[in-house]
Symmetry: D2
Subunit: 414 residues, 4 copies
Amino acid sequence: MSVSETVEVTGHLIDSGILSRILDDIREYEGDYVIDRFDVGHDAADTSRATITVSADDDPALQRLLMRLQTRGVNQVDPGEAMLALADMDGVFPDGFYSTTNLETKVRIGSTWIDVGNPEMDCGLVVEYSGSGEVVRVMTLPMSDVRIGMHVVCGASGVRVKSPVLEKAPGSFGFMESEVSSEKPQGVLVRSVADGMREAKAAGKKVLWVGGPGVVHTGAAPAMVAMVDAGFVDVLFAGNALATHDIESALYGTSLGVDLALGRGVEHGHEHHIRALNTIRKVGSIAAAVEQGVLTGGIMHAMVTHEKAFVLVGSVRDDGPLPDVYTDVIEGQRAMRAQLQDVGYCLMVATMLHSVATGNILPASIPLVCVDINPATVTKLADRGSSHARGIVTDVGLFLEQLAGELVPDYRRA
Amino acid sequence: MSVSETVEVTGHLIDSGILSRILDDIREYEGDYVIDRFDVGHDAADTSRATITVSADDDPALQRLLMRLQTRGVNQVDPGEAMLALADMDGVFPDGFYSTTNLETKVRIGSTWIDVGNPEMDCGLVVEYSGSGEVVRVMTLPMSDVRIGMHVVCGASGVRVKSPVLEKAPGSFGFMESEVSSEKPQGVLVRSVADGMREAKAAGKKVLWVGGPGVVHTGAAPAMVAMVDAGFVDVLFAGNALATHDIESALYGTSLGVDLALGRGVEHGHEHHIRALNTIRKVGSIAAAVEQGVLTGGIMHAMVTHEKAFVLVGSVRDDGPLPDVYTDVIEGQRAMRAQLQDVGYCLMVATMLHSVATGNILPASIPLVCVDINPATVTKLADRGSSHARGIVTDVGLFLEQLAGELVPDYRRA
Amino acid sequence: MSVSETVEVTGHLIDSGILSRILDDIREYEGDYVIDRFDVGHDAADTSRATITVSADDDPALQRLLMRLQTRGVNQVDPGEAMLALADMDGVFPDGFYSTTNLETKVRIGSTWIDVGNPEMDCGLVVEYSGSGEVVRVMTLPMSDVRIGMHVVCGASGVRVKSPVLEKAPGSFGFMESEVSSEKPQGVLVRSVADGMREAKAAGKKVLWVGGPGVVHTGAAPAMVAMVDAGFVDVLFAGNALATHDIESALYGTSLGVDLALGRGVEHGHEHHIRALNTIRKVGSIAAAVEQGVLTGGIMHAMVTHEKAFVLVGSVRDDGPLPDVYTDVIEGQRAMRAQLQDVGYCLMVATMLHSVATGNILPASIPLVCVDINPATVTKLADRGSSHARGIVTDVGLFLEQLAGELVPDYRRA
Amino acid sequence: MSVSETVEVTGHLIDSGILSRILDDIREYEGDYVIDRFDVGHDAADTSRATITVSADDDPALQRLLMRLQTRGVNQVDPGEAMLALADMDGVFPDGFYSTTNLETKVRIGSTWIDVGNPEMDCGLVVEYSGSGEVVRVMTLPMSDVRIGMHVVCGASGVRVKSPVLEKAPGSFGFMESEVSSEKPQGVLVRSVADGMREAKAAGKKVLWVGGPGVVHTGAAPAMVAMVDAGFVDVLFAGNALATHDIESALYGTSLGVDLALGRGVEHGHEHHIRALNTIRKVGSIAAAVEQGVLTGGIMHAMVTHEKAFVLVGSVRDDGPLPDVYTDVIEGQRAMRAQLQDVGYCLMVATMLHSVATGNILPASIPLVCVDINPATVTKLADRGSSHARGIVTDVGLFLEQLAGELVPDYRRA
């Protein structure tokens, strides 16, 4: 026996390819569909609206499919009320928990639509009640933070999402998969990123950078320092490697300078990085190293000097690590989440691991650009939840050099 | 003023390219050298021996250079005695600590050469004394495990290393950088890996696998299960992703099947993996899921059934994670080290992160093969400490399929 | 002032993404559109049909846009009659010539729809008249073959195309961009190629191979020889390199064996290939070398022995070249076209240059699979005219090994 | 029975890795060796000198090995006299012909050492006599240009080569395989290329560019035009694609703008390029199009305006082609050779095919830099004959932008 539900979606359904993906999802989840109504945008600028009845073999399968479709901005026509269940174990959601998207989300409880404050993918929705039984707020919560007795939304009922409007205005460089264009692509791309950062700052928002050690190896550290100095780096997410190589370079004057683009990485045996780690561990923290005059240059020095936030999260391949590094990755994720408030622009440079990690926790509403010389990194990120990510495949060193040239008036390469 | 030390190195210095790298190192460390004597192997089979006087601006620089050269198997002619210093902080080595190689190592204390039991790169050497002041043993210790009062070797004096003999016998497929050959490269490579595993097993040693989720995505899970069943997977190092995708596939019958080779990765929005994680977290562990009949197939099921060890270490991009995953990466490294005993062969498949992490802690004496479709991964590993790594750039799915065909007599693709 | 035309298109417009691309094209050509009517397929299996009025600034721009849209299978609702113009120069089309697609094409002349015999992209359409003024046939003609006085179709009027029906049946592995799946991707892919070849042979069609030197370097020559022997290689398109390396290997027993996957290519200095070239030039042709017993093994030997056709076309980087190589690339293209008759399946392996060249002249109706370890090659081909190409990113050596195992019952790796 | 010969080689044998490669070659050719004498450079700046007796199974094998070793700069201690044989067929060398290197070469005939004027790899050496039987000159000749009755050098006797001295000076960025470094790699690399071009111009030499269509797609055409205007592009080698896309862009204002770095190439269906081809074919040549005011901008326009030479050689995938394109690749090679006179610097950008073709005919003495975002292209070229090639893996668009900034004082991005 089959169960079904009617859903609707609005937007540039055809030219953005979203409708095609929706139908792919239904097939992949072994559901079926009938398109009940499709009001197509007559002119290029119009949005379209589709009403689709989707069906599946049983209700759990249908609910999973409905949740999946919400990642595409598809909502139930008659969403009903959210169904809640109590968590009966720490770190475990109740069966059939609603799995979140990174879109703007509302939940209907007692006929009232409540905004979810912190959209994040692959979490659950937890409803907090006051002592008097009133709903205080609804928030996303990662699986590992669930505690017994929490009220968790189950199934897709009573949840609505809203996709950001995709602009395809002339002048914008658009989305990687559909178009990358203009006569001077690279110049336009650099300027577009610079504009995005300036707009975020003008709106009182923060600029978040996510970086890998390639920033240092390609010689872009001075460019990045100039952008920190100029106020375009408010928060930095990275791993042990970026900070260590930056510090090693500042302490020993060594220039690893092995282009990651050659796929050669930095030779591990180069034991200077071990001494750099030991030196910082000895003084206790990067900030202490700056204060005591041990560390006098580089990206981390600039971040500390300007009192900018950074979150360094460790990985299994780390040496040391630096004392500032979160060795517990779940705690590291929490520390990253705590810095997302007021972020209005995100630039990811030369790191797969931390870019994906950041993409996981970032709301879809925040503009996101990923720069890497390896197309796989760019594609992988764009394939994941945030279809709003823009990818730029280019040389990280030259890109940051040019970006500094755009953002910092008197920046000159030495 | 310049200080100097005379060193020596023996081996296939020219045709292996080692001597060239030694001189590169000296230049990179801003040292200088004079080749005092060079006894060249006359015939192709002979080893050569070089005696070189290296100099540097001051003693700390010289000591760092000498430590660096030991990663190439270069020893001081007159090594002297090990110098020891006391650690005066937890997690920090004394200044000038000896930074280890992954080669077989001996330390001279009180005129006696003592073997270091567990060679590992980028660690310190700690000397343990009995209550009566006798040396009990000398061991490598990672920086984070140092404790106040430990006796740590400083400088390069009193330390000798021994490089494995590189065989360039006909028939062996040799080393990635110098030669990859024979009329049927891929067939030969598969057979060579199979032979290596069989030899390790015949010698009573364990076979260690390090794997990424690509093993599952390329459809190689059944081949790997067959090899687990046949006893060729004694230990598995992986992350949350391999285990989760394997379990998701077993629980939901979904086949992610997105070839990583296309650089497309697995779409994150696919929420089945979140439910798989929740399911395993609910029962408490992968082993419990097998016992309770929740998990009835796949790689992890096979590992549990055959009571094989696995160490799953988390990363910052993890969802969940599975209850078996070490969320603290330093603890994860310790758990990995604890499984290295008796490992006689290591195969790394489709993972950069865990391959580099394993390469960091593995002695150079253990044969190591890295298989990936991405040349950068293979090169990166080979560039790191263990120059003994052999790299195979190929399709992971077809490779494991063929390897199972070699190792498991009645293995047939379904 | 703007001119417009009403067009229509039928098919799986949404889930195949075609409609999205059509609208992209209109934008890119700076046209505008109104969707007059859109009958959406209600069920997943139904096709949809759209009627769209497209407009442009002037008639030449409109005609160019209409021609462009035909590459997507879009036809004018009221196609009218073909307009003809006389070529007034050799090798040059009249202005406004119709630029062809590789789809099944009909041309209306004097109210009669005439089939175009040999669909090929980026050609013109030439109408041949009998002495009595009757239309004998309409054929595609490449620009360089135009001769003064030929009757050439201009503008998009009177031309209709028909897209192949894209099947998205369960079991088929589908199209690279939308889905690559099933539990054992690589095994399924190999079998799918084998099935395609068997079906073509069963239908009395030929199997066309396009190969690069990687076939030899990855050790797959014996596998390919087995498939030639078994009748699965009817025609081979290649360059000087595949044939030379194959012959060098047969003559000198040298195994270049440098895996292209490592991006290392074959060292040029290896002068055996020069001697191999000289040897074959001396006897006059590859066939003569086989007859005279000079060449006794390898792929080219097998092709000659089984009297199979091969077309070798040179490139600017060639040494020699072999006497069989077309040094004039335009003549080479003609020789390739002459072999397309009755081709029912095409496999492209390890070559960008010859794969693109073949994709240029192949009708869209012929199944086409491109195998390469480099995703860029696979993507590039799929991006070009034939959206029907299927791409497989895998190791060429292992793939051909497995394909031989599927196609040749007693094939065993030596 | 084994035959042997004593050879010698001088240079930075160890730190450049040359000696290691020499021994690899001997093994690969199944020869054997004894190192008779090895005078090692004591200090880092000294050169070394090795005397080696190499042996092989028979004389032809030995001669082939000796010719092979000459590609490494290895000469016979007692070179003897050149042996000559008459060509008895057009296009075919006598058996045992000497296969050339791209090094500076001398041939001894009648006790006199004669310089070979035009070193080129994989050719033969032809001796020209005057009517009175005097040697007029010795020249390299490609296989296809041999004519009956020519005097061709056979075997390795009487031939000496001289390797360029590899400088490893501080400040130079060195050779891809050994070191790429300095604190700002990309900035240093750009400046190094600019310096190389300026030095060549200052010495009255020409700068040769070899380019692929990526120059246009990445938006670098204006930067390249600026460099043509400033006199830094004396000769351009390219294919049909670069010129066609450049001209299409100039004629139609279309910006293909699809970044090759994404591996997406330019969609073939885009029929503008076909019209651009037809337009130029109609006027007869690119120069005619410039004269008649049909073509008013872009790279080719700049080349014509400044009366700079360009050689366009076709390939099997070409549409059209442009009337200026050599459709016969052997004639194209000849046209390229004819432009090598006085070339003092060569920059290869974004093309594998034409870069390899140019590398084949370029003497080793000409500085050569290859820039591509794809490491495989860079490595492939460096692996081939000219070990003097320097590779830069970076974004072509940004690189040329920065290079124009270095070379053209008032160059500003629009």
